[in-house]
Each structure stands twice: as structure tokens, then as C-alpha cells.
């Protein structure tokens, strides 16, 4: 991928990611999150991970965001009333996040392998769905079944949680 496209999609992702936490209106936050996820899907495409990019768009930008928007509309959340922002707490939170970022950067700086370029792929990775499927059903059969049970438990839990108490 050309550096221009990389920086375009990386900045798109980061700017709209920041917009998620800056916007006061939850609906605007959710829509910024969609744009951020599309930028991330483009970065996945640049890494030859076509299957991951597709499920990123389908699951996150499709299903999860519809869920978020549905709940925001259901609860009828208006933009936060202009509560007094606690500047000390906000500044402290941002300072901790910045310290974390500096730490991550310094660790990545000290990682010599990261300076190398990506090795070229001899043949295009266009059959990655097949490869991931083979791996999933050969090496990761038990985790795959466990993840099925996790989803079943989550479904039952959501139904029980959202059931109206009848007294």
C-alpha cells in the first residue's frame, strides 16, 4: 500500500476515533465510530487480511453499531446537559492516557524488528478465507466450540437482563 493511502486511512481512523470521545451527543459519537471502523477495515485490507476486513465491516460497522444506535434511540439520550466538566479529573485522565501512549512508543522504538519492511508475499493472499477456515476447524476446534457457548450464554443473559420484572 502506498504511504499516502496508509496515512490517509490511519489519520481518518484516529481523527474520528478522537471525535468519538469529544462529541457530547452520543449519536454523533456512534456515527464517528462507524467512520473510524471503516478506516480500520481499509488498514486491514492494506495488510492483505481480506477476511478480517470484511467481518470488521459486517460485525462492527453493521451489527454492533446498529445495536448502539438502537439503544441510544431507545433510551432517548439527548446531548448531555452542559454539566460542569471536572477539568482536574479530565486532565488527569488524558495525562494517564498520554503517559500510556509514550510508554507504548518507547517500547516500539526499542523493538529492532519493527524497523524492517513487510516481506513481500510470493502469491496474493486471496484464499485467506479458506486458510482461516482450515485453521479454525483443524487446530482451533475446541476454542471455536467454546466461543459458540459464549455466544449462547450471552444471548440467554441478554434476554434475562432485558426481561421486564413481573411482580
Amino acid at each position: 500500500m502506498s504511504p499516502f493511502l496508509f496515512w490517509f486511512f490511519a489519520l481518518l481512523m484516529l481523527i474520528f476515533g478522537a471525535a468519538v470521545i469529544i462529541n457530547r451527543n452520543p449519536v454523533a459519537s456512534a456515527l464517528s465510530l462507524v467512520v473510524s471502523f471503516f478506516g480500520l477495515a481499509a488498514l486491514f485490507l492494506s495488510l492483505d487480511a481480506y477476511f478480517i476486513a470484511v467481518i470488521q465491516v459486517l460485525v462492527y460497522a453493521g451489527a454492533i453499531m446498529v445495536l448502539f444506535l438502537f439503544i441510544i434511540m431507545l433510551l432517548d439520550l439527548r446531548a448531555e446537559k452542559l454539566r460542569k466538566i471536572n477539568w482536574i479529573a479530565s486532565g488527569g485522565g488524558i495525562a494517564v492516557a498520554l503517559a500510556l501512549m509514550v510508554q507504548i512508543f518507547s517500547v516500539v522504538e526499542k523493538f529492532p524488528a519493527a524497523k524492517q519492511f513487510f516481506p513481500p508475499l510470493p502469491k496474493p493472499a486471496s484464499d485467506d478465507v479458506r486458510q482461516i477456515g482450515l485453521l479454525l476447524f483443524n487446530n482451533y476446534t475446541l476454542p471455536f466450540q467454546i466461543i459458540g457457548i459464549v455466544i449462547l450464554v450471552a444471548t440467554i443473559g441478554v434476554i434475562i437482563l432485558s426481561r421486564r420484572e413481573t411482580r
Binding site: P3, F6, A10, M13, L14, G17, V20, I21, P26, S29, L33, L40, L43, F44, L47, A49, F51, I52, I55, Q56, V59, Y60, I64, L67, F68, I71, I72, L75, E80, R83, S90, I94, V96, A97, L98, L100, M101, I104, V108, F111, A114, K115, Q116, F117, F118, P119, P122, K123, A125, I132, L136, N139, I147, V150, I151, A154, G157, L161, S162, R164
Partner: protein, 106 residues
């Protein structure tokens, strides 16, 4: 040219943005969104490492992509349960602001 370092830096920045969101915001739904940003930052670095480690057969290391697949699945389940809890909490307290929900505060 773009190296692995660039992807790791962008991933770190996205993680820091999500972390700042969890620390600063007071709306539970926005906190859940910021959690999603952090999970996605981890996914990005996993996929970058998968592309970086090309096996002898000439294919990327697909183990990391299977792991990302599992993370996305668990994240979907987590969001569903989290939002159901938010709805239940909203029915009880009529608020989604974490400063109004301090029953467990020490």
C-alpha cells in the same frame, strides 16, 4: 515506505484514544464505544504482526487472524451484554451517567 513500526504506533495511538475515553467520559454508552476502540487497536497490531511473519509456504501467519476472529466474536457478545445491562440500569435509575450510579462506591 511503511514498516511494522508505523502500524504499531497507529495502534498505540488508537489504544490511547480509547483509554482516554474510558477515563474521561461519564456516559456509559460512550465508555462502551471507547472500549471497542481499544479492542480494535489490539486487533490492528495482531493483524500487522500476522502480515509481518510470512511463513515458509509464502502465506501470512493466519493464527493471528483466527485470534482476531475470536476477539471480534467476544466483543460482539460483550457489547450485547453491556448494552442490556445499561438498559436495565436505565429502567431502574433513569440515567446513564456513571456519576449518578455510586451504589458500589467505597
Amino acid at each position: 515506505m511503511i514498516t511494522l513500526e508505523h502500524y504499531l504506533m497507529v495502534s498505540g495511538m488508537l489504544f490511547a484514544i480509547g483509554f482516554a475515553g474510558v477515563m474521561v467520559r461519564r456516559n456509559i454508552i460512550v465508555i462502551l464505544m471507547a472500549l471497542e476502540l481499544m479492542l480494535n487497536a489490539a486487533n490492528l497490531s495482531l493483524v500487522a504482526f500476522s502480515r509481518f511473519h510470512v511463513a515458509a509456504s509464502g502465506a501470512p501467519n493466519y493464527n493471528a487472524q483466527v485470534f482476531v476472529f475470536f476477539i471480534i466474536t467476544v466483543a460482539a457478545a460483550e457489547v450485547a451484554v453491556g448494552l442490556a445491562i445499561v438498559v436495565a440500569l436505565f429502567r431502574l435509575r433513569q440515567t446513564t451517567n456513571v456519576e449518578d450510579i455510586t451504589a458500589l462506591k467505597f
